[in-house]
């Protein structure tokens, strides 16, 4: 028993700084660590996007520190921008960040099931970020294969371009490490949800946030192993001379590549997208959970169709594994499978539509309180619809023919992923900050931040649809070179579409500058914010029954007992318009 007790003891509130804040096993500290990692990454990613936007409209400008950016630097910037945003921001903050912090609390547990694994998973993620960012500083610079790193470009090494040397190798290694970290995280999330729910917390009483973290973790568990395998194979092609993805007879930069033969570039695409499509749902599902939670809370109504929401989440999760081929309509894969993937993809619109309807249904008849968190949740719905609908164009292989790899796709994924999912993070931050830090964020600044961001992102990303329709390819470093020839006369592309690009760039500068408001609000809020009560939003779930920030073991050693569903707002015949989950029927005041 001695050992048993000692391990249990190891989890008592630690006292040293290192154990408390650095190598902490407390899910709340780890959640904040993930959050800060994402915050750092998102500002890095935004900085890269500023450089990209500058280069796109003024390719010849000399920047301080950077000088004049070259084409290969542009491609490296966009690769790192996409990679950092997708992996280090959208896979960490919504799931590992907020999920870590609030999943155990919302189901009434004292911590994650395996706190040490939890800590390991954060530090592994950290290492992976360091490895990836290191790619900027090696000879040849960061990789330029795009975030999708299609071989042979990503497999041939330096011969295929400057960043394809050490930089690309670090990228692959960093991604493989990230996979390992995410797998550990997924194990923890699922086990915690399955086995650590408190008394009375049946599956159908879990908040939708918990449901979304749970389903997301399942997606992660099934998807990241595949990416890991793909990364291992790609790495071997790069460093060990194998030929998984490299076919024979290639001649690059006048060199005959004779040491490789027979590999298949499409194999990587299948493996990558088998992971990649579930990955984009990994990015958005937690945001959906947060939006549902916040919309219900601030419209003072139960979520409309709770069960339907759960089924829709699961449906999206399941279908998410059956549609990866929609990224490969023009890749040379069998046109018949394109047909099947297309139909599956169109049907993913159905659970998404159910969710949208139910969000509107939740607001319908409500008493909406326009907190900043609520504004971002409403913005989420608007942007999710806008970004999702463009997916329906891309999902039809024939319509995808002209649109694939143009700015239309860039518009689609920035709206639904780069913005909707980010709005989920914002909403969550404004909503839970009082619990995480015991202080309020400044609502006034928050609202300014909302308006600038909401208007800003639409200004950045809506016009991109038109660029794409007009045939503007993505991943083009320099617009000057795009000669748009039509009907025999050279109508200069630069003249026709450059103003649109310029508008987008200015919108981006303003929007990105507005994010500093958020940063200042956040930092100021931690120390100077207004003190928050225990339940400032009059919400129903368990995190609002404990002080903020919560004590080390969340519930002070008491086992919370759950008596009701998560969204009992404005129940007729009851005095107050919200009934927390832990109140027994006798404890509820009648009107």
């Amino acid at each position: 028993m001695a050992s048993h007790a000692s391990v249990a003891h190891a989890h008592a509130a630690p006292t040293g700084f290192i154990r408390k804040y650095i190598f902490s096993v407390d899910h709340k500290v780890i959640g904040i660590q993930y959050f800060l990692l994402a915050l750092f990454s998102v500002f890095l990613g935004m900085a890269l996007s500023v450089l990209m936007r500058i280069h796109l409209v003024w390719p010849n400008i000399h920047l301080p520190f950077f000088g004049q950016l070259t084409s290969d630097q542009y491609v490296a910037l966009l690769t790192m921008h996409g990679t950092i945003m997708v992996f280090m921001v959208l896979t960490t903050a919504p799931q590992s960040g907020f999920g870590n912090y609030f999943l155990p609390i919302q189901i009434g547990a004292a911590d994650m099931a395996f706190p040490v694994i939890n800590m390991l998973s954060f530090w592994t993620t950290f290492v992976s970020l360091v490895v990836m960012v290191a790619a900027f500083f090696v000879e040849g610079g960061a990789p330029g294969g795009g975030w999708t790193a299609y071989p042979p470009l990503s497999a041939l090494g330096k011969i295929a371009g400057p960043g394809q040397g050490t930089g690309q190798t670090l990228w692959v290694i960093g991604l493989a490490i990230f996979c390992a970290a995410s797998l550990m995280g997924a194990l923890n999330f699922i086990t915690t949800t399955v086995d650590l729910r408190t008394k009375g917390m049946s599956l159908m009483r879990m908040p939708l946030t918990v449901w979304s973290w749970f389903i997301t973790a399942i997606l992660g568990l099934l998807a990241f192993g595949v990416l890991l395998a793909a990364c291992v194979l790609l790495l071997l092609d790069r460093v060990a001379g194998t030929s998984f993805f490299i076919p024979g007879g290639l001649v690059a930069t006048d060199t005959i590549i004779s040491q490789h033969s027979g590999g298949s570039p499409l194999l990587w695409q299948h493996l990558f997208w088998f992971f990649g499509h579930p990955e984009v749902y990994i990015a958005i599902l937690p945001g959906m959970g947060v939006a549902s939670h916040v919309l219900s809370t601030f419209s003072r109504k139960p979520i409309f169709g709770y069960r339907a929401m759960v089924y829709a989440l699961s449906g999206i999760g399941f279908l998410g594994f059956c549609v990866w081929g929609h990224h490969m309509f023009v890749s040379g894969m069998s046109p018949y499978s394109a047909f099947a993937f297309s139909i599956m993809t169109m049907s993913i619109g159905v659970p998404s539509a159910i969710k949208t309807f139910n969000w509107l249904g939740t607001l319908w008849g409500g008493q909406i309180r326009f907190t900043t968190a609520m504004l971002f949740a409403i913005g989420f719905v608007s942007i999710f619809v806008t970004g999702g609908l463009s997916g329906l164009f891309l999902a039809q292989p024939s319509v995808d023919l002209p649109l694939h790899d143009t700015y239309f796709v860039v518009a689609h994924f920035h709206l639904i992923m780069g913005v909707a999912a980010i709005f989920g993070i914002f909403s969550a931050t404004y909503f839970w900050f009082p619990k995480m830090f015991g202080k309020h964020l400044n609502e006034g600044v928050g609202k300014v931040h909302f308006w600038l961001t909401f208007a800003g992102v639409y200004c950045i990303f809506m016009p991109m649809h038109f660029l794409g329709i007009a045939g503007h390819e993505r991943r083009y470093a320099d617009l000057n070179s795009v000669n748009y020839l039509s009907g025999g006369q050279a109508a200069n592309f630069h003249g026709g579409l450059w103003p649109v690009q310029l508008f987008i760039s200015f919108a981006a500068f303003v929007t990105i500058a507005a994010q500093l408001l958020f940063l200042v609000n956040f930092i100021w809020g931690i120390w100077g914010g207004k003190r928050a009560e225990m339940n400032p939003w009059e919400a129903t779930t368990l995190e609002w029954t404990i002080p903020g920030p919560p004590p080390h073991d969340n519930f002070g050693g008491v086992v919370p007992v759950i008596y009701r569903g998560p969204y009992e707002f404005s129940v007729p015949g009851e005095k107050r318009d919200f009934v927390p989950q832990h109140l027994s029927p006798e404890q509820v005041e009648k009107a």
Binding site: S3, V116, N118, G262, G263, S264, G557
Partner: protein, 182 residues
């Protein structure tokens, strides 16, 4: 006081999570109102899930193998070293001894448990060693990672599997070490 056989088993079956033990609520006293510790089934759950993740990893490799083999004309079947058969037998034997260890423990025969447990650990090591010998034989025969797609896959699979088994051996050693201490 030391837990029942079953409890021991849970402990031993999943020792990797040693530090991840249940938060037993507060740090001090431990009255009746403490949060219930992590339920045993959580260890079952996490092992099942981990198997699922590992399965996906190997499935990805396997489907790559199938796709790659169907491609190109460069595929040459590998002449596998004989010792692989021995290794396979060793691996199967180790599952048998592990099962015997489990039975012994549940019957409370600690001595028998320990022996079988150590035997399992030993067999695991023998297996990994055997695989290394197989690698050396292939090397000697001039079959390297990049020689042919079939050899590439062979090394990738055996390396991944080797790491997997090595992880198991470390876990076995950890438990052996702990049960020795008691």
């Amino acid at each position: 006081m030391p837990g029942t056989a079953a409890e021991q088993l849970e402990l031993q079956a999943h020792p990797g999570q040693g530090g991840g033990f249940p938060p037993s609520g507060d740090s001090g006293g431990g009255g009746d109102d403490r949060l219930s510790p992590i339920p045993r089934r959580a260890y079952m759950t996490v092992i099942t899930l981990a198997l699922g993740a590992i399965l996906m990893f190997f499935l990805a490799l396997t489907s790559s193998y199938i796709v790659r083999r169907g491609l190109g004309t460069d595929w040459k079947n590998l002449a596998l070293p004989r010792i692989l058969w021995v290794n396979t037998v060793v691996l199967l034997a180790s599952s048998a001894t592990l099962e015997l260890a489990r039975k012994a423990l549940s019957r409370g025969q600690r001595e028998a448990f320990r022996n079988f447990w150590l035997l399992t650990t030993g067999l695991g090591m023998v297996f990994v060693g055997g695989q290394l010998i197989a690698w050396r034989q292939l090397h000697a025969a001039g079959v390297f990672l990049s020689t042919n797609p079939s050899s590439s896959f062979f090394y990738v699979f055996t390396a991944a599997h080797g790491l997997h088994v090595l992880g198991g051996v470390i876990a076995l050693l950890y438990v052996a070490f702990r049960s020795w201490q008691k």
